[in-house]
């Protein structure tokens, strides 16, 4: 029984650290900014989730103490990682829009246009009757 627990905890910890490393390797290797967002936001979040799960099991099954911090950390990270990725993508779109930088060649090509004649919602003028418009002026 102890052997199985050891194997499961070690596998979770190694899987988590491996995914964290793959995420950072993707951040270094991928050619354009929009693609570099993929590595950290997906692989690193998954890796940290596995690591925290391994930590919960380790403290519960090996040391006999219950610690709920890991669950809070993983819940918070899983909620916030997409939001910060969205904000970073918006920053990048804005800096492309204002001509502050030029996009290098990427694997997938430029991101597809939004439908019809419109542009990204983040470039739209703020509406007068909305109290907190987040569009750029």
């Amino acid at each position: 029984m102890t052997m199985i627990v050891d194997i499961v905890i070690s596998a979770l910890v190694l899987l988590g650290a491996g995914f964290v490393l793959i995420g950072s390797w993707g951040l270094v290797r991928l050619p354009s900014t929009m693609e570099r967002l993929h590595g950290p936001t997906k692989a690193t979040t998954l890796g940290l989730g596995a690591l925290l799960l391994g930590s919960v099991l380790y403290f519960q099954l090996r040391l006999g103490t219950w610690s709920a911090h890991e669950l809070l950390i993983s819940l918070f990270l899983f909620i916030t990682a997409p939001i910060s990725a969205n904000m970073i993508a918006k920053v990048h779109l804005h800096r492309l829009h204002t001509g502050a930088l030029s996009e290098p060649d990427s694997i997938a090509g430029p991101p597809p246009r939004p439908g019809d004649d419109g542009d990204w919602a983040t470039f739209a003028e703020p509406q007068q009757d909305t109290p907190a418009a987040t569009a750029n002026t």
């Binding site: 910890v13 490393l21 951040l27 900014t33 380790y58 911090h69 918070f76 804005h94």
Partner: protein, 89 residues
């Protein structure tokens, strides 16, 4: 076995931090640097959890929880500052 796994994982996470630091220094776009900083915060959380597991002590996990919150808020504040030139309007 767990001790070996924890050591290997610590080395892997430290290597990931170095790779993030390389991207933070090199850029070239501002978005890359923000992504690198955000990922560094997540990797530091992983490192704190590993240190807590090696020491068999969960006191450090409160620091990891605080770092998760502060890292998210700082990333959003930086992005808002670039988007709007202001953080709290």
């Amino acid at each position: 076995m767990i001790a070996w796994a924890l050591n290997i994982a610590s080395v892997a996470v430290a290597l990931a931090l170095l790779l993030n630091g390389w991207r933070l220094l090199k850029g070239p776009a501002l978005g890359d640097r923000i992504v690198a900083l955000d990922t560094m915060v997540i990797n530091v959380i992983a490192l704190i959890v590993l240190i807590g597991m090696i020491g068999g002590n969960d006191t450090y996990f409160e620091a990891a929880l605080l770092l998760a919150m502060v890292g998210f808020v700082s990333t959003i504040a930086y992005c808002k500052f670039i988007l709007r030139g202001d953080i709290v309007e």
